[in-house]
C-alpha cells in the first residue's frame, strides 16, 4: 500500500511477487516490509523465550503425581495439587460421596444451554427444555423439592391471564374459554388458599438426601448464579426497557432512575447490600437463604444492563412495524409481545450472550460475601497447609476452565451474529 507510484509518472513495475504457497504466505503476512520483518523477528524471539520458559515450568520440570505438597516442591509446576483438589474445586463442600449429583446437575445445565443455542429450539420447546432442565438441576442439587399448591394455582392464573391478553381478538373461542377457565381456577384457588380454606398442601419429591445451599460450591454455583441471574433478569429487563421507552413520564422516570442507579454502582455494593442489609429490610424473623440473596442481587444488577441492551434492540426497529401493528388494531400488550419484542430480541441476542459471559465472570464476586462459587473453591483449595504455595497452578487451572466457557460462548455469539445478519442483508 505504501509504494504507490507518484502521480503522473509511468514506471515499469516489477512482476507481481508469487504469494501463493507457504513461502508466499510467510512473505505476505510476516515480511511484507522491512519494518514488518523486524517486528516479526523480535516477536518470534520474545514469544519463543516466554514459551520455552513457560513450557519448562509447566511441562518439562513439572510434577504431576506427588502425594503431598512438600514432595512437589522442586523446580517446575506442581500439577499434582490440581489432581488432589479438583473435586473440591468443582463441587465445593457438597457431601463427598454424593458428588455425582452436582456433576449431573452441571451436565443438565450445560445440556440446557447447548440445546438453547440451537435456533431450531427457539419456540415452545425452549420452555420444556428449561422446565425439565431446571427441575432436574435443582432436584439433584437440593435432593428434594416441594411444589406447593399455591405454585400450581399461580401458574394456572398466569397462563390464563397471559393467554387472555395476548390472544384477545386472535384466539378461537374454545381456546379463549380454556384461558378463562384456567385464570378462574387459579384466582379462586389462590383466594381460597390465602383465606386459609385450602390447606397448605405441597407435592414433595424427595428421592435424595437434602443438601442445603451453604454446602453448595464450585461450578454448579457459578452456573446457577449466572444462568438463573440472566433468566430472571430477562423479563424484568424487558419491562425496564419498555418503561424507559414509554412516554408516560412517571414510569419513564422510575425506570431511568433505577437503571442509572444500578449501572452507576459496583456489583459489590449490591452484593454487600443483599448479604448484609436485605434481612433488615424485611419484617423481623423473615430471612432468606444467603445463596438466594446473592442470586437476587445478581438479578437486580443484570436487569439494568439487559434493559439497556434491549432498549438498543427496540430503537433499531423501523417505525413502520409499530404503525402496522396499530393498523391491525392490536392493543399495547399484543403489539409489544407479538410484533415488537420478537423482532427486537432477535437483534439483541448476540449482545445478550456477551452480557451472559460478563455475568458468568462477575458471579466470581460472590466470594466476597462468602459464597463458594468456582473461584472461591479454587481459592480455598490453596488454604490447605499441606499443599500451600502453588497459587499459579490452581489459578491457571481455574482460568483455563473459565476460558473454555467464556471463549466458546463468545465464538457462538459471533457465529450467531453473522447468521442472524444474513437474513437482513438483502
Amino acid at each position: 500500500m505504501t509504494d504507490v507510484a507518484p502521480v503522473g509518472e509511468r514506471r515499469q513495475l516489477a512482476p507481481p511477487v508469487d504469494d501463493s504457497g507457504a513461502l508466499g504466505w510467510i512473505r505476505r503476512n510476516l515480511f511484507s516490509s522491512w519494518a514488518n520483518g523486524i517486528t516479526t523477528v523480535v516477536l518470534i524471539v520474545a514469544v519463543g523465550w516466554i514459551l520455552s520458559w513457560f513450557l519448562e515450568w509447566a511441562v518439562f520440570t513439572a510434577n504431576f503425581t506427588a502425594a503431598s505438597g512438600s514432595e512437589c516442591r522442586a523446580q517446575g509446576a506442581c500439577w499434582a495439587i490440581v489432581g488432589e483438589k479438583w473435586r473440591y474445586i468443582f463441587f465445593g463442600s457438597f457431601p463427598y460421596e454424593q458428588h455425582w449429583r452436582p456433576l449431573f446437575a452441571v451436565i443438565a445445565m450445560l445440556a440446557m444451554l447447548i440445546l438453547s443455542s440451537d435456533r431450531r429450539m427457539w419456540n415452545w420447546r425452549l420452555i420444556v427444555i428449561w422446565g425439565v432442565g431446571s427441575f432436574i438441576t435443582f432436584l439433584l442439587m437440593f435432593g428434594e423439592i416441594h411444589l406447593p399448591l399455591s405454585l400450581f394455582l399461580f401458574v394456572a392464573l398466569a397462563v390464563g391471564a397471559v393467554g387472555l391478553i395476548l390472544r384477545r381478538n386472535i384466539g378461537a373461542a374454545g381456546e379463549m374459554n380454556a384461558y378463562r377457565a384456567l385464570a378462574a381456577i387459579g384466582l379462586a384457588g389462590l383466594v381460597l388458599r390465602i383465606a386459609g380454606i385450602l390447606p397448605a398442601w405441597s407435592l414433595a419429591i424427595a428421592p435424595l438426601s437434602y443438601v442445603e445451599t451453604n454446602l453448595w460450591g464450585g461450578l454448579p454455583v457459578t452456573l446457577i448464579l449466572a444462568t438463573y441471574g440472566l433468566v430472571f433478569a430477562f423479563p424484568y429487563g424487558i419491562l425496564l426497557a419498555l418503561g424507559r421507552r414509554s412516554e408516560l413520564p412517571l414510569i419513564k422516570g422510575l425506570c431511568v432512575g433505577f437503571i442509572e442507579l444500578i449501572r452507576g454502582v459496583p456489583l459489590i455494593s449490591l452484593l454487600i447490600m443483599a448479604s448484609v442489609m436485605l434481612p433488615l429490610f424485611l419484617p423481623s424473623g423473615v430471612t432468606f437463604d444467603k445463596f438466594l440473596r446473592a442470586q437476587v442481587a445478581v438479578i437486580l444488577f443484570a436487569g439494568a444492563y439487559i434493559a439497556e441492551i434491549i432498549r438498543g434492540g427496540l430503537q433499531s426497529l423501523p417505525k413502520g412495524q409499530f404503525e402496522a401493528a396499530d393498523a391491525m388494531g392490536l392493543n399495547y400488550v399484543q403489539k409489544t409481545a407479538l410484533i415488537v419484542l420478537p423482532q427486537a430480541l432477535r437483534v439483541v441476542i448476540p449482545p445478550l450472550i456477551n452480557t451472559f459471559i460478563g455475568f458468568f465472570k462477575d458471579t466470581s464476586l460472590v466470594l466476597i460475601i462468602g459464597i463458594f462459587d468456582f473461584l472461591n473453591t479454587a481459592n480455598q483449595a490453596l488454604v490447605d497447609p499441606n499443599w500451600a504455595g502453588f497459587p499459579g497452578e490452581i489459578y491457571l487451572f481455574a482460568a483455563f476452565i473459565y476460558f473454555i466457557f467464556c471463549y466458546s460462548m463468545s465464538r457462538y455469539s459471533k457465529r450467531l451474529e453473522i447468521e442472524l445478519n444474513r437474513g437482513t442483508r438483502r
Partner: protein, 340 residues
C-alpha cells in the same frame, strides 16, 4: 434525570432517622425524676448502712452513686430505699426502685423466673466459717469434728452438709431458729464455728465479738454467692449503663486511675484512657449518657479498689481481704470487658 437519581439517593439517606437519642423507659423516668432510686439492704455493714445524719455509705451504695454519676454527672443524685430481703424483688418489679444493690445473689431462678437481669457482679461472696483464734483451726480442711451453730433448713445448712460429706469430715450441728440466739451461742463458746457468707462473718466479728481479734474468718469459701446489681428485664439500655458503670470502676483500677489522679490521666496521650475518660468521644454516646460518664464516676466515687478499701477493705472496720475480689491481673475474679 441523573441528578434526580442522585437527589433521590441522598433523600433516602436523609430520611433515616437518628433514633439513638430516644432513650429506654427507665432512663427517661430517672432523668425526668432527677435522681436514681436505688434499693439497698437495710443494714449490711460495709455494703449499705446509714449514719446518724442520714448519710448512706457502703460498697453497694457507692455503686448506686456511680450510676448517678454516669447519668447525671452528680454522684449525690441518688435516693436510697432500704429494703429487706423479701421486699427487694417486688420493689424492683413494681418500679419502686430502679436498681438493686442489696447484696442479692445471682442465681438461675432469679435470673429467669423473676423477670430481672443481673448487671455485673460487684462482690464475689461465699459461705465461710468464723472460729475462735484459740481453737487453732486455720483452714476449712481443719474443721473435722467441729460443732457448728446453724439455722436448720437453710441453704447454709445444705452447703455445710455437702462440704463435710464431700471431704469425708465429721461434724456436729447445734440448731437455732433465730440468728441472734445463734450468734450469742457462738460467742458464748457453745459451738466451735459459726457459718454464713464471708462478708457477713466479717461484719459479725466486728459488731458482736467481745474482742474481734480473738476470732478468725477462715479464708476459703465453700459456696458461691456472687452479689450482683439487679435491674428489670426489658430495658437493655439502662442495664447497660449500670453494668458498664461497674466495669468502668474495675477498668479504672486496672489502669491505675483513682479519684486523685483522674485529671492527670485524662490529660495523658494514651488512646485507651482518652477513650474511657471521654476525651475521645464515642463511649458515652453508645451508652446514651454524657461522654464524661466514666470520668465523673471515678472523680466522685473512685475506682473499684478505692470503693472496696474504703467500705469493706483495709480502711474500714471490717478489714475484709480482697480475695476473690482482686483484679484478674492479681489473681482475683474482677474482670471488666474492654471499654471501646
Amino acid at each position: 434525570m441523573r441528578n434526580t437519581v442522585l437527589a433521590a439517593a441522598i433523600g433516602l439517606a436523609a430520611i433515616l432517622p437518628t433514633h439513638r437519642a430516644e432513650a429506654g423507659p427507665t432512663l427517661d423516668a430517672v432523668k425526668a425524676r432527677g435522681q436514681l432510686v436505688c434499693g439497698v439492704a437495710a443494714t449490711a455493714q460495709g455494703f449499705s448502712s446509714v449514719d446518724d445524719k442520714g448519710k448512706w455509705s457502703g460498697l453497694g451504695v457507692d455503686l448506686c452513686r456511680a450510676g448517678a454519676a454516669a447519668i447525671f454527672g452528680d454522684a449525690q443524685k441518688v435516693e436510697f430505699v432500704p429494703l429487706d430481703a423479701a421486699k427487694r424483688f417486688p420493689a424492683l418489679q413494681s418500679g419502686e426502685v430502679d436498681v438493686l444493690a442489696s447484696n442479692s445473689t445471682f442465681t438461675l431462678t432469679r435470673d429467669t423466673a423473676l423477670g430481672v437481669d443481673f448487671a455485673g457482679i460487684y462482690y464475689y461472696d461465699g459461705q465461710g466459717f468464723l472460729v475462735a483464734r484459740k481453737l487453732g483451726k486455720r483452714t476449712t480442711k481443719d474443721l473435722n469434728g467441729v460443732s457448728i451453730c446453724l439455722q436448720p433448713g437453710t441453704t447454709t445448712e445444705a452447703n455445710v452438709v455437702d462440704y463435710f460429706q464431700k471431704n469425708k469430715m465429721a461434724f456436729k450441728v447445734l440448731p437455732f431458729d433465730k440468728v441472734e440466739d445463734m450468734r450469742k451461742a457462738f460467742f458464748d463458746g457453745k459451738c466451735d464455728t459459726l457459718t454464713a457468707d464471708l462478708s457477713n462473718l466479717y461484719a459479725t466479728r466486728v459488731a458482736y465479738a467481745p474482742n474481734p481479734n480473738d476470732f478468725l474468718v477462715l479464708a476459703q469459701a465453700i459456696s458461691k454467692e456472687p452479689l450482683a446489681l439487679v435491674v428489670r428485664h426489658g430495658d437493655n439500655q439502662f442495664a447497660d449503663i449500670v453494668r458498664w458503670s461497674l466495669f468502668a470502676m474495675i477498668e479504672a483500677e486496672e489502669y491505675g486511675i483513682t479519684s486523685k489522679n483522674v485529671d492527670q490521666a485524662a490529660a495523658m496521650d494514651h488512646p485507651l484512657l482518652k477513650r474511657m475518660l471521654g476525651v475521645t468521644p464515642g463511649m458515652g454516646k453508645a451508652l446514651g449518657v454524657d461522654e464524661k460518664w466514666a470520668y465523673n464516676i471515678i472523680k466522685q466515687v473512685g475506682n473499684y479498689g478505692e470503693a472496696f478499701d474504703r467500705n469493706v477493705g483495709p480502711n474500714s472496720p471490717l478489714k475484709i481481704p480482697r480475695g476473690l475480689n482482686m483484679l484478674w491481673t492479681q489473681g482475683g475474679l474482677q474482670y471488666a470487658p474492654p471499654i471501646r
